[in-house]
Amino acid sequence: MGESGPMWLFMAPSVLVIALVLFYPFFSAVYYSFFNYYLGSQAITFAGLDNYTNLLSEERFWITLGNTFFIVGCSVALQLVLGLALALALYACTRGVRLISLLNFLPHVVTPVVGGIFLKWMFVGRWGLLDATLIGFNIFPPDWLGDPGWAKFTVILADTWKFMPFLMLVLYAGLQAFDTALLEAARIDGASPWQLLWYIILPMMKPLILFVVAIRTMDAFRFFDLIYVLTNGGPGTATETITLYTYQIGFRLLEVGRASALGVLTLIVVAMMVAGLIWFMQRRGREAF
């Protein structure tokens, strides 16, 4: 008891900062979600659960939730496959690893909005870099940003370009920690490269893979800036994710109460998903993978 006093004293600054930047906004959002709060009006009236029930009965809420799951799922899967492939390629490389990994990591360093603008000028119809180049060869590409299907594909590609380097670097770091004797032993036993990958490397990397997938999934659920710059959720609602819809309600329609309710609903969905992933990881951990 005597020792816990100074310990609390040391923790106080961080607790204060966390309370200010995390708990205060969080509890404010929960509080406002029970009110009709429109920024253009002075009156704030109690609405009970109306904001929640209205949102849950809206078709657009479910469409944006579906879009979010689709974009996040495809994007994280693509990032994992490419990131793992590149990490393995780097692992196999004997020269220039640092330079290659540095170049690969550059997109991740670029500010998302700047990256978004850069990608926009690549994908924009007819005079964008991609279109102009392909048209030069008499190939007329699809409407990257204007067709609902292609727009989804483009934002998935954009997110992959931005975040795949993160996965690559983490997985490469994991590979570096490998006991090479295992690989050598398997090679002596006549294992092919595919067998090495499937029976040695992947099983040993499973915990790390699950970890980066969990982190990226949570992060990708908040996917906003690149979509905002590239398509602004369009065409129509084709690439509108739940964060973009929250932004629209909060910052375009100025309805703080409804936006807060949507924020709380998003939090619940993400929390459930993360709890599922943790449960899955712990279960697999008990199986000693």
């Binding site: 048209i135 940003l145 369009g234 129509g236 375009r252």
Partner: protein
């Protein structure tokens, strides 16, 4: 002894620093949040040198971003924004909420000093709400029908007088390398882009009681027509606004389309355009296209001296300044607008005059930005085929009705 030395140094330092601190407080920059197009860049520069010793920090960005940033500043009652660009639609919303200063008294006080009586009354009306003036107008902007004169001459075509004709022309001129038309359906653009077709083929946006009418049978016909037109548009039109639209024309990838008067000068700028001297302008099919009076206003929450802020605006919009910007935006001062030399110098001015005669501002509904956002989301879904036209429009109308009910309309 040492203590005395430090005390003296501290006192001397403080004494020296005080005037500097005071000067710093006085010279705190005036912040402008504005949309960005060439004329606004010009006026922002003029503001920077409008008053000696007053620094203006001009933050220029696309209109959607500017409007959003302004709303955030206002809703937080922030003194971080002193003056702002706005259009008639934003003005109505801000004025209704009491976020901007009425300028009538300041206009009366500085009328002679800045010759404010010369400003076109129509333009002043465009920035008035509930009988009060809330902005100093810099231009009354209009959408125009822009087309490739050389291509039209080659095909012996005339500018269309109906939207059906425009669909036919766009179809005729469409090729893989040059689209028949360019459309702007990104962000805050659709209400402007769709006004002419909704006003001439459809029944318009709202009835006199602010009930939506864009979903009527005629409205459905109008949007169906636009959907057919979009087949001949430059790809990616749902993610394109004014900037992209201007590049589409300037880079020779579109033959026709609607274009704001403020973008005409770029077409003849050899550094930015491949079509110098090849563009021509006319009234959009059937007219009744969107007009927008753009101007500057003063934030109610600014801590700066309001007279000083008004003087910056008035100086930036004086006759000399408007003469310099005459190629970038239709001037609001009659002395400049009616000057025969200016009329002759800029070849798009005759078309601008005709467009101003037949255009219409967006509905004078304070909540039009919000209502338009909801309606246009559904309309765009109809145009790209995400929803059937009828379903999209009736859903949009229901959402707009619900929004306006929440905002206190339709009582009784």
């Amino acid at each position: 002894m040492a203590k005395t030395k430090i005390g003296r140094r501290a006192a001397l330092g403080t004494a020296l620093a005080l005037p500097a601190l005071n000067v710093r407080a006085q010279s705190e920059p005036v912040t402008l949040i504005s949309h960005r197009y060439p004329a606004l860049e010009w006026y922002a520069d003029k503001m920077k040198s409008a008053l000696p010793g007053v620094t203006v920090d001009a933050r220029l960005m696309p209109s959607g971003d500017a409007g959003q940033l302004q709303r955030l500043q206002f809703s937080a009652a922030s003194p971080g924004m002193d003056i702002l660009w706005l259009n008639g639609s934003l003005m109505a919303f801000y004025a209704k909420n009491g976020w901007i200063e009425p300028l009538d008294d300041l206009i009366a006080k500085f009328k002679d000093e800045y010759k404010l009586g010369d400003i076109n009354p129509t333009s002043l009306k465009g920035l008035s709400y509930d009988g009060k003036i809330y902005g100093l107008p810099l231009t009354t902007n209009t959408l125009m029908y822009a087309y490739r004169e050389d291509v039209f001459a080659e095909r012996k075509l005339q500018p269309p007088t109906t939207w059906e004709q425009q669909v036919e022309i766009a179809k005729q001129l469409h090729s893989p390398r040059r689209s028949g038309t360019t459309l702007s359906l990104k962000w805050d653009m659709p209400p402007y882009e769709l006004s002419s077709v909704l006003n001439t083929v459809g029944d318009g946006w709202f009835d006199k009681d602010w009930r939506p009418i864009f979903q009527t049978e005629k409205g459905q016909k109008a949007i169906d027509l636009y959907k057919r037109l979009s087949a001949f548009a430059v790809p990616g039109f749902t993610s394109q606004a004014n900037d992209e639209n201007t590049v589409n024309f300037a880079q020779d990838v579109a033959a026709t389309g609607q274009q704001w008067a403020t973008r005409c000068a770029t077409m003849d700028n050899p550094q930015r355009s491949k079509v110098v001297g090849k563009m021509q302008w006319a009234v959009p099919p059937g007219g009744r296209q969107a007009l927008s009076t753009d101007g500057y206003a003063i934030s109610k929450f600014s801590a700066k001296n309001k007279e000083m802020l008004f003087r910056i605006l008035a100086k930036a919009l004086d006759e000399e300044s408007q003469r310099g910007a005459a190629d970038l935006a239709t001037p609001t001062r009659r002395a400049v607008l009616n000057d025969p030399a200016i009329q002759a110098k800029f070849r798009w001015y005759p078309a601008v005059s005709k467009c101003l005669e037949v255009g219409e501002p967006l509905p004078a509904l304070a909540e039009f930005n919000e209502a338009g956002e909801l309606a246009c989301k559904r309309i765009v879904q109809a145009i790209i085929g995400q929803l059937p036209v009828k379903e999209a429009l009736t859903t949009g109308a229901a959402e707009v009705t619900e929004l306006l009910t929440r905002r206190g309309y339709y009582k009784g």
